[in-house]
Protein backbone atom coordinates (compact mmCIF):
# COMPACT_ATOMS: atom_id res chain seq x y z
CA UNK A 1 0.00 0.00 0.00
CA UNK A 2 2.93 2.33 0.58
CA UNK A 3 4.02 2.07 -3.06
CA UNK A 4 0.52 3.03 -4.21
CA UNK A 5 0.39 6.09 -1.96
CA UNK A 6 3.87 7.16 -3.06
CA UNK A 7 2.96 6.99 -6.75
CA UNK A 8 -0.30 8.93 -6.19
CA UNK A 9 1.64 11.62 -4.33
CA UNK A 10 4.20 11.92 -7.12
CA UNK A 11 1.52 12.26 -9.80
CA UNK A 12 -0.19 14.99 -7.75
CA UNK A 13 3.13 16.87 -7.42
CA UNK A 14 3.56 16.80 -11.21
CA UNK A 15 -0.01 18.15 -11.58
CA UNK A 16 0.79 21.02 -9.21
CA UNK A 17 3.81 21.92 -11.37
CA UNK A 18 1.57 21.99 -14.44
CA UNK A 19 -0.91 24.33 -12.78
CA UNK A 20 1.95 26.66 -11.79
CA UNK A 21 2.32 27.48 -15.48
CA UNK A 22 -1.06 29.17 -15.32
CA UNK A 23 -0.05 31.03 -12.16
CA UNK A 24 3.04 32.52 -13.82
CA UNK A 25 1.77 33.14 -17.35
CA UNK A 26 -1.93 33.71 -16.85
CA UNK A 27 -2.85 36.95 -18.62
CA UNK A 28 -4.33 39.11 -15.89
CA UNK A 29 -4.91 38.59 -12.20
CA UNK A 30 -8.17 36.60 -12.34
CA UNK A 31 -6.57 33.53 -13.91
CA UNK A 32 -3.91 33.55 -11.23
CA UNK A 33 -6.40 33.49 -8.38
CA UNK A 34 -8.34 30.57 -9.88
CA UNK A 35 -5.08 28.65 -10.30
CA UNK A 36 -3.97 29.35 -6.72
CA UNK A 37 -7.24 27.92 -5.45
CA UNK A 38 -6.58 24.76 -7.49
CA UNK A 39 -3.06 24.46 -6.05
CA UNK A 40 -4.47 24.69 -2.54
CA UNK A 41 -6.96 21.90 -3.20
CA UNK A 42 -4.25 19.55 -4.45
CA UNK A 43 -2.01 20.40 -1.50
CA UNK A 44 -4.72 19.19 0.88
CA UNK A 45 -4.61 15.65 -0.58
CA UNK A 46 -0.79 15.63 -0.68
CA UNK A 47 -0.67 16.46 3.05
CA UNK A 48 -2.95 13.54 3.96
CA UNK A 49 -0.94 11.11 1.82
CA UNK A 50 2.26 12.27 3.51
CA UNK A 51 0.58 11.50 6.82
CA UNK A 52 0.10 7.91 5.72
CA UNK A 53 3.69 7.58 4.49
CA UNK A 54 5.06 8.72 7.85
CA UNK A 55 2.50 6.59 9.75
CA UNK A 56 1.21 9.54 11.84
CA UNK A 57 -2.12 10.47 10.33
CA UNK A 58 -3.68 12.04 13.39
CA UNK A 59 -1.10 14.82 13.34
CA UNK A 60 -1.60 15.80 9.70
CA UNK A 61 -5.39 15.95 9.77
CA UNK A 62 -5.61 19.13 11.81
CA UNK A 63 -3.12 20.87 9.53
CA UNK A 64 -5.02 19.94 6.38
CA UNK A 65 -8.36 21.09 7.81
CA UNK A 66 -6.90 24.48 8.74
CA UNK A 67 -5.47 24.78 5.23
CA UNK A 68 -8.90 24.11 3.72
CA UNK A 69 -10.38 26.94 5.83
CA UNK A 70 -7.67 29.41 4.90
CA UNK A 71 -7.86 28.57 1.20
CA UNK A 72 -11.59 29.37 1.16
CA UNK A 73 -11.24 32.61 3.13
CA UNK A 74 -8.32 33.78 0.99
CA UNK A 75 -10.17 33.22 -2.26
CA UNK A 76 -13.26 35.10 -1.02
CA UNK A 77 -11.12 38.01 0.25
CA UNK A 78 -9.24 38.33 -3.05
CA UNK A 79 -12.50 38.23 -5.03
CA UNK A 80 -14.02 40.96 -2.85
CA UNK A 81 -10.98 43.16 -3.37
CA UNK A 82 -10.99 42.78 -7.13
CA UNK A 83 -14.57 43.88 -7.66
CA UNK A 84 -13.75 47.48 -8.56
CA UNK A 85 -13.43 48.86 -12.06
CA UNK A 86 -9.70 49.45 -12.25
CA UNK A 87 -8.54 45.81 -12.39
CA UNK A 88 -9.29 45.18 -16.05
CA UNK A 89 -6.34 43.32 -17.62
Amino acid sequence: MNVFFLSVGLILCILVLLVLYRVVFGPGVYNRIAAISAVGTKTLIILLIMGYLYDRVDMFIDISMVYAFLNFIGCVAAAKYLESEKWMP
Binding site: L12, A34, W87
Partner: protein, 104 residues
Protein backbone atom coordinates in the same frame (compact mmCIF):
# COMPACT_ATOMS: atom_id res chain seq x y z
CA UNK B 1 -10.09 -6.95 5.12
CA UNK B 2 -9.19 -7.00 1.49
CA UNK B 3 -12.51 -5.63 0.19
CA UNK B 4 -12.00 -2.29 1.96
CA UNK B 5 -8.54 -1.88 0.49
CA UNK B 6 -9.76 -2.58 -3.05
CA UNK B 7 -12.68 -0.15 -2.65
CA UNK B 8 -10.39 2.58 -1.34
CA UNK B 9 -7.97 2.10 -4.24
CA UNK B 10 -10.86 2.42 -6.72
CA UNK B 11 -12.04 5.70 -5.15
CA UNK B 12 -8.55 7.23 -5.00
CA UNK B 13 -7.80 6.33 -8.62
CA UNK B 14 -11.12 7.89 -9.65
CA UNK B 15 -10.20 11.07 -7.79
CA UNK B 16 -6.80 11.13 -9.49
CA UNK B 17 -8.45 10.80 -12.91
CA UNK B 18 -10.67 13.82 -12.27
CA UNK B 19 -7.70 15.83 -11.01
CA UNK B 20 -5.86 15.11 -14.26
CA UNK B 21 -8.75 16.15 -16.49
CA UNK B 22 -9.32 19.33 -14.47
CA UNK B 23 -5.65 20.30 -14.85
CA UNK B 24 -5.66 19.65 -18.60
CA UNK B 25 -8.81 21.79 -18.84
CA UNK B 26 -7.19 24.60 -16.87
CA UNK B 27 -4.27 24.68 -19.31
CA UNK B 28 -6.07 24.32 -22.62
CA UNK B 29 -9.31 26.30 -22.37
CA UNK B 30 -9.36 29.66 -24.18
CA UNK B 31 -10.96 31.99 -21.65
CA UNK B 32 -11.12 32.76 -17.92
CA UNK B 33 -14.77 31.74 -17.50
CA UNK B 34 -14.30 28.38 -19.19
CA UNK B 35 -11.24 27.70 -17.02
CA UNK B 36 -13.40 28.38 -13.98
CA UNK B 37 -15.77 25.65 -15.17
CA UNK B 38 -12.90 23.17 -15.29
CA UNK B 39 -11.35 23.93 -11.95
CA UNK B 40 -14.57 24.59 -10.06
CA UNK B 41 -16.38 21.38 -10.90
CA UNK B 42 -13.54 18.95 -11.56
CA UNK B 43 -11.50 19.80 -8.49
CA UNK B 44 -14.48 19.62 -6.13
CA UNK B 45 -15.52 16.16 -7.29
CA UNK B 46 -11.93 14.90 -7.25
CA UNK B 47 -11.33 16.06 -3.67
CA UNK B 48 -14.62 14.52 -2.53
CA UNK B 49 -13.84 11.11 -4.05
CA UNK B 50 -10.25 11.08 -2.80
CA UNK B 51 -11.22 11.93 0.76
CA UNK B 52 -13.94 9.26 0.80
CA UNK B 53 -11.38 6.74 -0.44
CA UNK B 54 -8.95 7.66 2.34
CA UNK B 55 -11.76 7.49 4.94
CA UNK B 56 -12.72 3.97 3.81
CA UNK B 57 -9.11 2.87 4.17
CA UNK B 58 -8.96 4.29 7.69
CA UNK B 59 -12.12 2.63 9.01
CA UNK B 60 -14.58 3.83 11.64
CA UNK B 61 -12.30 5.67 14.06
CA UNK B 62 -12.12 9.30 15.16
CA UNK B 63 -9.65 10.02 12.34
CA UNK B 64 -12.02 8.64 9.71
CA UNK B 65 -14.90 10.83 10.91
CA UNK B 66 -12.65 13.90 10.83
CA UNK B 67 -11.72 13.14 7.21
CA UNK B 68 -15.42 12.95 6.34
CA UNK B 69 -15.93 16.37 7.94
CA UNK B 70 -13.17 17.84 5.78
CA UNK B 71 -14.89 16.33 2.71
CA UNK B 72 -18.23 17.91 3.69
CA UNK B 73 -16.61 21.30 4.19
CA UNK B 74 -14.84 21.20 0.81
CA UNK B 75 -18.08 20.18 -0.88
CA UNK B 76 -19.79 23.30 0.51
CA UNK B 77 -16.99 25.84 0.29
CA UNK B 78 -15.21 25.27 -3.04
CA UNK B 79 -18.21 26.08 -5.30
CA UNK B 80 -18.90 29.18 -3.23
CA UNK B 81 -15.35 30.44 -3.80
CA UNK B 82 -15.74 29.81 -7.55
CA UNK B 83 -18.99 31.75 -7.57
CA UNK B 84 -17.39 34.66 -5.72
CA UNK B 85 -14.51 35.02 -8.12
CA UNK B 86 -16.63 34.70 -11.25
CA UNK B 87 -18.95 37.40 -9.90
CA UNK B 88 -15.91 39.63 -9.40
CA UNK B 89 -14.93 39.03 -13.01
CA UNK B 90 -18.37 40.00 -14.31
CA UNK B 91 -18.68 43.06 -12.07
CA UNK B 92 -15.41 44.51 -13.34
CA UNK B 93 -16.31 44.04 -16.98
CA UNK B 94 -14.19 41.10 -18.16
CA UNK B 95 -15.29 40.31 -21.72
CA UNK B 96 -16.34 36.82 -22.81
CA UNK B 97 -14.55 34.89 -25.53
CA UNK B 98 -16.43 34.38 -28.80
CA UNK B 99 -15.54 32.16 -31.70
CA UNK B 100 -14.88 35.14 -33.95
CA UNK B 101 -11.82 36.02 -31.83
CA UNK B 102 -10.02 32.94 -33.12
CA UNK B 103 -7.57 31.09 -30.93
CA UNK B 104 -6.22 33.08 -28.00
Amino acid sequence: MIIFTVLSVIFIVGGLFFFTTATIGLLRFPDFYTRLHATGKGDTLAVFLSLIGIAIYEGITLTGLKILLIALFMFLAQPTATHAISRAGIRSGYKHWTRKDGTK
